[in-house]
Symmetry: C2
């Protein structure tokens, strides 16, 4: 049997997070959550979540893109895109036209209203980026994106 005295429990005053903060994954997740939160607040006026903005932005810069291409690019499961597309169509932000080469697919395009809204939304997104990275210099911001790309590309 042990002769060591049993130390009474002490309360934790300050939580030590140094180990978790030494992990890239933890830091990347925390930073992402902060930016996504800011995005949700600032994009609420357009009624756009991050995924809606990504979808509309890809359609804006790739007129005629198909749902399949959106799914592959954004890692969305096809069934989960269906509702988003029909909602954006009901809001008269996008139209679906027959694909020129593939009778199974539909090409997605912004409507004039969609174009007008995205022009403003991309300005808001840029302002939001500036605010989220306010403590970074332009050079640090470029470095950060290069390093993040080295992880996921």
């Amino acid at each position: 049997m042990s002769t060591r005295k049993t130390t009474p429990d002490a309360a934790v005053e300050q939580v030590d997070t140094s180990y978790l903060e030494s992990l890239v994954g933890y830091n990347a997740r925390r930073a992402t959550l902060v930016i996504v939160d800011a995005f949700l607040r600032n994009m609420a006026v357009y009624g756009l979540r991050p995924v809606d903005f990504s979808v509309l932005s890809l359609i804006a810069h790739n007129p005629g893109i198909t749902s399949r291409q959106l799914c592959t690019t954004l890692n969305i499961q096809p069934p989960n895109l269906v509702g988003m597309i029909s909602q954006l169509q009901r809001r008269d932000l996008i139209t679906r036209r027959p694909h020129p080469n593939d009778g199974r697919a539909m090409g997605l395009h912004l409507t004039p209203e969609g174009r007008k809204m995205m022009k403003q939304a991309e300005v808001t997104a840029s302002e939001l980026e500036e605010a989220s990275t306010a403590r970074l210099s332009p050079a640090e911001r470029r470095t950060l994106m290069q390093l993040l790309k080295k992880i996921y590309i």
Copy 2:
């Protein structure tokens, strides 16, 4: 009425993602998903999701921490932590002991089995970090974490 000819739709061959890739939020989210995916695969042998690992790691480095402190530190809603804690307790990885100063709270501690498992799990997590950031030099890895902290702290 317009005299402009209607251009027939063209198919999108290569999806242009350059705009999205100019946003820190997009890059941070994509990098996080890659690391989380690797985490899920490598930590499955321990039956730990990222949140379980974070909780156990904080308990390991802060013996006696309360549920409330875990929630605040990890941005978890208290009702969502209850199930995790009881599951970790059922797996005999943690114990709950009365808090020394606060009769409402319970102090959380690792069991010997919990300590043994987390010792291995943290080694796996470190290996995983190395693999996820294999294309980064040690200096770049340090820079990346500094820049991410500048966003979320």
